[in-house]
């Protein structure tokens, strides 16, 4: 998992996404301690204040909690993480469907197309 930060959007929003994905993918497992803000910022090569802001947003989502001075921990609430994963998936799906509609597909056609392509073995592995 890399810190691939693009130029067209605010850095903090991208950091929220990337760290969220790292939690979902178990790179930061439930109940584990996160590296310090400085260290995270250094490995992402971003501003520590921006990293702080991104972690704050994830804290708002309940994915991360600060334990006084000892640092930040990933939540031990596995269901919450699953729900967050789902939420991101739905957002991503919404984007996909909008794009397909622009190509003049309706929902049925989209489903068919996905089934067909997956069955053909022409799947979208990566």
């Amino acid at each position: 998992m890399s810190w691939d930060i693009k130029g067209d959007r605010p850095v903090y929003a991208q950091l929220v996404e990337i760290i969220g994905q790292m939690i979902i993918k178990n790179i930061f497992p439930p109940d584990s301690k996160l590296p310090s803000v400085r260290d995270l910022a250094a490995s992402a090569e971003v501003n520590p204040n921006t990293m702080q802001k991104a972690l704050g947003e994830l804290e708002g989502e309940g994915l991360i909690s600060s334990i006084r001075t000892t640092g930040k921990y990933v939540t031990n609430n596995v269901e919450l993480i699953a729900a967050y994963k789902r939420k991101l998936a739905v957002i991503e799906l919404g984007r996909f469907i909008r794009k397909m509609k622009n190509l003049d597909y309706n929902l049925e056609e989209i489903k068919d197309l996905v089934d067909k392509e997956v069955n053909n073995g022409n799947s979208f592995r990566n």
Binding site: P10, V11, E45, N47
Partner: protein, 232 residues
């Protein structure tokens, strides 16, 4: 918020050529600020004025409320765009030198960074490559618990691996109570590291603000914005 660096109506000319002419600027503690602009735009002149290497023709500069002089040099950590270390010294001599002259120098931090790079304390600076020397300079400058860091083109002319090392070293080690000013023309390489930016061209401030706000408003990177504005 505490103001670390305060600039008022700064002017500097070399002969007839005006190198810098800027109004009022304030830098608040905890911020990493990019001083961006093409070569010859006045970035180095600005840095040299604040470091005390140049004297302004008019205006006022205050670091921590004090006008530029011996007192501000104690709290300003400056990385020039040139190799300034004494060739005759060994690494350990430079460490001793910094410890002797700067009370805020954190020797342990410097030693641990040198150790991580595998630099031998007995190695003379003369025998180091240009890249290694630059890293040693950066380590010395970032090992000071300064109030203001002035970094002039810290990533100019280095390969991507060295660039990563330099940015990581800056992020990991600057004093949180301080202001870090990074002067560079390589906007794309540093913009993720910045809180705020000041873009100067031809000695004047063209645009300044928060990096994330500009990205949000314009939907493009600072780098792209300036490429469009200045067609450079």
């Amino acid at each position: 918020m505490e103001t670390v660096l305060e600039i008022k109506n700064l002017k500097k000319s070399y002969g007839k050529k005006t190198a810098l002419n800027i109004g009022d600027l304030e830098f608040e503690k905890g911020k990493i600020v990019g001083l961006l602009g093409p070569n010859g735009s006045g970035k180095t002149t600005f840095i040299k004025l604040v470091s005390g290497l140049l004297t302004a023709d008019a205006g006022d500069i205050k670091v921590g409320g004090i006008s530029i002089g011996v007192e501000t040099k104690r709290i300003v950590s400056y990385l020039p765009d040139t190799n300034y270390l004494f060739d005759w010294m060994k690494t350990k001599d430079v460490i001793a030198f910094f410890k002797d002259f700067y009370k805020d120098f954190d020797e342990k931090l410097a030693l641990s960074m040198l150790d991580k790079l595998g630099i031998d304390l007995k190695q003379s600076l003369k025998s180091m490559s240009k890249g290694t020397k630059e890293k040693v300079q950066l380590i010395l400058v970032m090992s000071r618990r300064a109030k203001l860091y002035l970094l002039d083109e810290p990533i100019g002319g280095v390969d991507p691996a060295a660039r990563d090392y330099i940015l990581k070293t800056i992020i990991s080690n600057y004093n949180e109570e301080a202001v870090v000013i990074i002067a560079t023309h390589l906007i794309g390489d540093v913009e993720n590291v910045l809180d705020d930016f000041i873009f100067i061209d031809d000695g004047k401030v063209v645009l300044s603000g928060s990096v994330d706000e500009i990205r949000e408003e314009e939907g493009k990177s600072i780098d792209n914005l300036f490429r469009e504005v200045f067609k450079c």
